[in-house]
């Protein structure tokens, strides 16, 4: 089987396992009807809701229905959105489907993660290359300090520090929210820190490796300008570890965005998930997790694809590649 196809099948399987896990956890944490209506609800109201939601059917049947609905893109209706607060109304009201709500939060998350990625990647490549060009110089040391600091800093804490300095003390940028590029700066910086550190370390070591190879000396000997030696000759060959680490960081970036969103009240999927958890909106949480998981898997597939394109020598079928 072609390598990419095999990877795709593996991903589908992984997604299936994850979705099943989400279902099981959803049933373990408690009675959804009780969670929805609260402990003050009457027994008849609870029974009625269980009936409506199919909760009185055997668990395996619920599972099959759940899967069947998923395949049709139906993640269920929100326990909260579209319901009035009155339990009696709740029984009659048609809840809003959760999937469109989750999907509507995607652009904000993408904007944040994408900005952070571009920021982290381009800075990391420049810093890593500089460090590799002048090993053990002050530039190298500076890059080392920057990358170590940004890898080890706790995102949550970094976000708060940035808010305190730039929003509270200096009053330059908003503390949180959404709408303008000013709103984007602090959360993107916060999110970019970790990938910046990790990617720049990989760029540095991969470039050091490449720059010591004979073809680099040969390129210099034939009169190729140094910028081209570094950014074309060496970087092209260093790109495989760099793409790999960036791909790894990409999935981390998506999950990291969830946290950063809550710090900066950035209305993406992360904020929605946290809010929904707080509101005990089980379908919304399930849909959110599934969408995020699907995204992470898609990203990994895309990275694998980029990998095959970048390296003409890789024989995809006998490569013991990324897990």
């Amino acid at each position: 089987m072609p390598y990419l196809l095999r990877r795709f099948m593996q991903s589908l399987l992984l997604l299936f396992v994850l979705i099943s896990f989400v279902f099981v956890v959803g049933r373990i944490i408690g009675d959804p009807a009780l969670i929805m209506l609260g402990t003050s609800a009457s027994e008849t109201a609870l029974d009625q809701l269980r009936e409506n939601l199919g909760l009185n059917q055997p668990i395996w049947q619920q599972y099959l229905v759940f899967l069947g609905d998923l395949v049709q893109g139906d993640f269920g209706v929100s326990f909260r959105y579209g319901f009035s607060m009155m339990p009696s109304d709740a029984l009659r009201a048609e809840g809003t489907p959760v999937l469109p709500i989750v999907l509507s939060r995607l652009p904000a998350t993408f904007l944040l993660a994408g900005t952070a990625l571009v920021l982290a990647f381009s800075l990391a490549v420049v810093l890593g290359c500089l460090a590799a060009m002048y090993p053990r110089s002050w530039i190298d040391n500076l890059v080392n300090v920057i990358s170590l600091a940004s890898v080890s800093v706790v995102q949550f804490w970094l976000g708060l520090i940035l808010i305190i300095v730039f929003s509270v003390q200096l009053g330059l940028l908003p503390t949180g929210g959404y709408g303008s590029w000013q709103h984007l700066i602090l959360p993107a910086l916060t999110l970019a820190a970790r990938p910046l550190g990790r990617i720049s370390q990989v760029v540095r070591s991969a470039m050091l490796d490449e720059l010591s190879k004979p073809y680099i000396a040969a390129a210099r000997a034939k009169g190729v300008p140094e910028w081209r030696v570094v950014f074309v000759h060496a970087l092209k060959n260093a790109s495989i570890p760099i793409v790999t680490i960036t791909g790894d960081e990409l999935s981390q970036l998506l999950t990291g965005a969830m946290l950063v969103e809550t710090v900066f009240a950035w209305p993406g999927i992360g904020l929605l998930l946290i809010d929904s958890l707080g509101r005990r909106d089980l379908p919304m949480v399930q849909a959110g997790i599934c969408v995020v998981a699907a995204l992470v898997i898609l990203v990994n597939l895309a990275v694998d694809f980029a990998y095959t394109v970048l390296n003409p020598r890789i024989e995809m079928d006998n490569r013991g590649g990324r897990a």
Binding site: K213, P214, Y215, A217, A218, A219, R220, A221, K222, G223, V224, P225, E226, R228, H233, K236, N237, N311, P312, R313
Partner: protein, 338 residues
């Protein structure tokens, strides 16, 4: 010390293309300063073929990298003069030096496969500097690459111009390297053991090709090799290096007929007599000194059978022993008379 180096006398022709004077290269290492090249002087005339012979670690490659301005500092230190057409390569701006590389002096390497960038097509690599310097279009660069591939006799150049180095054999890679070196019609081609990694028949083909190209273009060729047979066949003049210094130099016939320095004699004696494929350099007893621990006096004395007391304390300088032939040995003059 420098004044005693009779480099003027080593010049073959009045106006040398390349004139190396007292070139020294050393490296900072964790174990202290390592002297890789300890003051060598030589020159090269237009169109001449010069051979450089010496055991591994004798400073052949480092010396030539220094000439190309390729020694990185730190950890390297280079001193002396490298005059190309009268201009000192070592003191000129990096810009000018880069201009010189490719345009005036080109270099090919021992392991052509690893000297080619694995992720650029051979066509791109062959015409890369041509394209940058001549500011031509991609299509024109490709035409140039095909033309050069034809010149170095790579079959079906048109279809293979877009191939990657791993799709070529070792010999074909060396041809690609040569084509790359020829792109800007350099006046000097430095070949650092161009055939060591290849099997015998391919070695012959590459050497024939180099000789042919040299005849057509009138390039000067500096050939580093372990292969004394190759030296005897191809070069006009040869230099023997030992522990970072020239121990003997001269016209190749004279070197083979009347070798003066005990080391050169040992080398020639160790050459296989009948059509042996390559001359092994290992038949001389002992091993060369590590670059960090140079013996006092003559660096060769621990291995020399003719050693006298002076050899332990006093370093012999190069001196003329015959027309165009010089040797660095305390016994050199006596040798000439017997």
């Amino acid at each position: 010390m420098r004044a005693m180096q009779p480099y003027e006398t080593l010049d073959a022709v009045p106006a040398p293309l390349l004139d190396i004077r007292d070139l020294r290269v050393s490296f900072d290492t964790p174990h202290g300063l390592v002297k890789a090249v300890g003051g060598v002087s030589w020159s090269l005339s237009p169109g001449e073929t010069l051979g450089i012979i010496g055991e591994s670690g004798s400073g052949k490659s480092v010396g030539l990298e220094a000439i190309m301005g390729l020694i990185k500092s730190p950890p390297g230190h280079v001193s002396g003069q490298v005059l190309f057409d009268g201009r000192d390569v070592l003191t000129m701006a990096e810009r000018d030096r880069r201009q010189l590389r490719g345009e005036k002096i080109a270099m090919i390497f021992q392991d052509a496969m690893s000297a080619l960038n694995p992720s650029l097509t051979v066509g791109t690599q062959i015409a890369e500097v041509y394209r940058l310097r001549r500011k031509c279009s991609q299509a024109e660069a490709e035409r140039k690459a095909i033309e050069l591939m034809d010149r170095v006799k790579i079959p079906s150049a048109k279809t293979r111009v877009g191939c990657y180095p791993h799709e070529f054999s070792g010999g074909m890679c060396q041809r690609v390297m040569i084509a790359t070196a020829l792109a800007l019609n350099p006046q000097i081609l430095i070949a650092d053991e161009p055939t060591t990694a290849l099997d015998v028949t391919v070695q012959r083909q590459i050497m024939t090709l180099l000789a042919e190209l040299q005849r057509e273009d009138g390039m000067a060729l500096v050939l580093i090799t372990h292969d004394l047979g190759l030296v005897a066949e191809t070069v006009d003049r040869a230099m023997v290096m030992y522990a970072g210094r020239i121990v003997e130099s001269g016209p190749v016939d004279a070197l083979f007929e009347t070798p003066t320095h005990p080391y050169t004699r040992g080398l020639i004696r160790s050459m296989p007599r009948l059509d042996g494929a390559s001359g092994a350099l290992h038949a001389i007893g002992g091993t060369p000194p590590a670059a960090g621990r140079m013996p006092r006096g003559c660096a060769f004395h621990p291995r020399c059978e003719q050693r006298v007391d002076r050899c332990l304390t006093e370093r012999p300088n190069l001196r003329m022993v015959a027309k165009g032939q010089a040797a660095a040995c305390h016994l050199a003059e006596e040798t000439r008379h017997d």
